[in-house]
C-alpha cells in the first residue's frame, strides 16, 4: 500500500531519507509532495488527497485538526527547527554571532519572510533579543522560504543570513553560529494524519515510523532537534 504525504519544503531532504528507510523496511511505499506549509494547507483545505501532513509549524496542523481536515489526536511534533547564522566567508562569523551581526560592513542580512516562514519569525526574535532590530531593519533581505534565504547567502549576494541548520549541516565551508535556543521560540514542526489518510494503513505506518528510532537518527542527522517532551 502507498502513503501520500505532504511535506514542508524545509524537510525535503530528511523526508527522502526517511522514506527510503521506511520502504526498505518493507510492506509499504511512500510518496511525498513537497511544498511550502501554507500552500500545502490550502491544498488540504480544498480536497487534496494527502494522507498525512508534515508541516513546518504548529499552527496549520492545529487548524487542520480544528476544522476537521485531520484525524483528531493524531498530531505530534516530529522535529524542532534549529536556526543558524551563516556566511560563506570562513572568517566572518566567530564564536559569537552577535558580534558578526553588529559589524559595520553588514550591508545586508538575509532572513526568511517572517510572515510566511517560521524561520523568518524566529530570526526577528533573535534580532530583537540581541537588540539589533533597529540597526538592521533597513538591511533585511527576505527570502520567501528559508531555502531562498539560504540561496541569497551562498550565491554571495548577501554576506550573512539566518538559515536552518538542516541546510548547512552537511557542509563545512564558510562560518556559522548555531543560535542559542533561548533567543527564539522553538520551531516546532508538527505532523498530523489527514482525513483522507484515516483508513490508510501505510500512512499510519509511516507516521509511526517517523516517531521511531531510525527516523529520529535521520532527523537529528539533518540538524533538527527533537521534542523530548513531545507526545511521540
Amino acid at each position: 500500500e502507498e502513503a501520500l504525504i505532504a511535506v514542508a519544503a524545509n524537510f525535503t531532504a530528511a523526508a527522502r531519507d526517511i522514506g527510503a528507510a521506511f520502504e526498505a523496511e518493507g510492506g509499504h511505499s511512500v510518496t511525498f509532495s513537497f511544498g511550502s506549509t501554507g500552500k500545502l494547507y490550502a491544498q488540504i483545505a480544498h480536497g487534496a488527497p494527502f494522507h498525512a501532513f508534515l508541516a513546518a509549524d504548529v499552527a496549520r496542523p492545529e487548524k487542520a485538526e480544528a476544522e476537521g481536515l485531520a484525524v483528531s489526536g493524531s498530531r505530534f511534533t516530529y522535529a524542532l527547527g534549529r536556526l543558524a547564522l551563516y556566511s560563506p566567508d570562513p572568517d566572518r562569523i566567530g564564536t559569537d554571532g552577535a558580534v558578526a551581526l553588529a559589524a559595520d560592513d553588514v550591508d545586508r542580512l538575509a532572513i526568511a519572510n517572517p510572515v510566511t516562514a517560521p524561520y523568518g519569525a524566529a530570526a526577528l526574535e533573535v534580532l530583537a533579543a540581541l537588540d539589533l532590530t533597529d540597526a538592521l531593519r533597513a538591511r533585511l533581505v527576505q527570502g520567501d522560504t528559508i531555502m531562498q534565504t539560504h540561496q541569497f547567502v551562498v550565491t554571495g549576494n548577501v554576506p550573512l543570513g539566518f538559515v536552518a541548520l538542516a541546510q548547512i549541516v552537511g557542509h563545512t565551508d564558510g562560518s556559522r553560529w548555531l543560535v542559542p535556543q533561548d533567543l527564539y521560540t522553538p520551531l516546532r514542526q508538527d505532523a498530523v494524519l489527514l482525513r483522507a489518510g484515516a483508513d490508510s494503513v501505510a500512512a499510519r505506518a509511516f507516521l509511526d515510523f517517523l516517531r521511531g528510532p531510525v527516523a529520529r537518527d535521520i532527523i537529528t542527522g539533518y540538524g533538527y532537534g527533537l521534542d523530548d517532551d513531545g507526545r511521540g
Partner: protein, 223 residues
C-alpha cells in the same frame, strides 16, 4: 525522473494543443466582432495572467474543490474532480496561458483583413469553410507565436501547476517543479543538469516549430 520528463512533455504538448483549440474561436470573435463591448472580453481573457500563478492556482483550487458547486458539477459529469489530476493541470495551465495564445492569434486574424474572406465568399465558401481554408492558413504566424509562447510558458511555469496539481510524483509532478525542488534542497548539480536538459529540449522544440512553419509557409511577401 523518467516519469517526470514524460509527464512534462505530455502536459506541454496537450496544453499547447488545447490552448490553440480554445484560443482560436475566442481570437476569431475578438478579431471580427463589431460588438462595442468586445474589448471588455478581450481584457477579461488577459486577466488570468495578472494574478500570481500560485494565487490563480489557489482560486482555481477553491473553484474546483469538491465543496464548490462548479467542482461538484465537474465531478458529477466526469466522475472525478480536477484538482490533483493531470486533467486539472491541463485546465489550469490552459487558463493561465490563454492570453499568450489569444493575443497573437487575434492579431493575425486582424491582419488578414476583409478581402480574402470576401473573395472566399464569392467563390462559394461558407463562413465556416472560409475560416478553415483562408483565415486559419493566413493566420499561421499567429498560431505559431501562440504555440511557442504557450509551450514555453507551460514548460516553465509551475506556480499554478504546483497549486492545483499538488506535486504528486507520476501524476502531477513536472520537470519545472523537479528542478525547483533540487534548487531548494541545494542539489544544484542535479538542478543544473535538469535545467540544461530542459533548455536544450525546449530549444529544439521551439526551433523545430519555426522551421516547420517556414517549410509549410507560403514563402515571403507580395512584391
Amino acid at each position: 525522473m523518467a516519469t517526470v520528463v514524460w509527464l512534462t512533455l505530455q502536459l506541454a504538448a496537450v496544453v499547447t494543443v488545447v490552448l490553440l483549440v480554445v484560443s482560436t474561436p475566442i481570437a476569431w470573435w475578438l478579431a471580427r466582432s463589431k460588438a462595442p463591448w468586445k474589448e471588455v472580453v478581450g481584457a477579461l481573457v488577459t486577466l488570468p495572467l495578472v494574478l500570481p500563478p500560485t494565487v490563480l492556482g489557489f482560486y482555481l483550487l477553491v473553484a474546483f474543490s469538491p465543496s464548490s458547486p462548479l467542482g461538484q458539477a465537474i465531478e458529477g459529469v466526469f466522475g472525478q474532480g480536477l484538482p490533483f489530476t493531470f486533467e486539472g493541470l491541463v485546465v489550469a495551465s490552459v487558463l493561465h496561458s490563454l492570453p499568450f495564445a489569444v493575443q497573437p492569434i487575434r492579431n493575425a486574424f486582424e491582419a488578414i483583413g476583409d478581402r480574402p474572406l470576401e473573395v472566399a465568399a464569392t467563390l462559394r465558401a461558407s463562413p465556416w469553410a472560409a475560416f478553415w481554408t483562408v483565415a486559419v492558413p493566413l493566420a499561421r504566424p499567429g498560431f505559431l507565436a501562440g504555440a511557442i509562447l504557450g509551450f514555453a510558458h507551460t514548460m516553465g511555469e509551475f506556480g499554478v501547476v504546483l497549486m492545483i496539481g499538488g506535486n504528486i510524483p507520476g501524476e502531477t509532478k513536472v520537470l519545472s517543479i523537479a528542478i525547483y525542488d533540487y534548487v531548494e534542497t541545494l542539489e544544484w548539480d542535479k538542478a543544473h543538469v535538469l535545467a540544461a536538459g530542459m533548455l536544450g529540449f525546449s530549444f529544439t522544440v521551439l526551433l523545430a516549430m519555426r522551421l516547420v512553419e517556414r517549410r509549410l509557409g507560403w514563402g515571403g511577401q507580395t512584391r
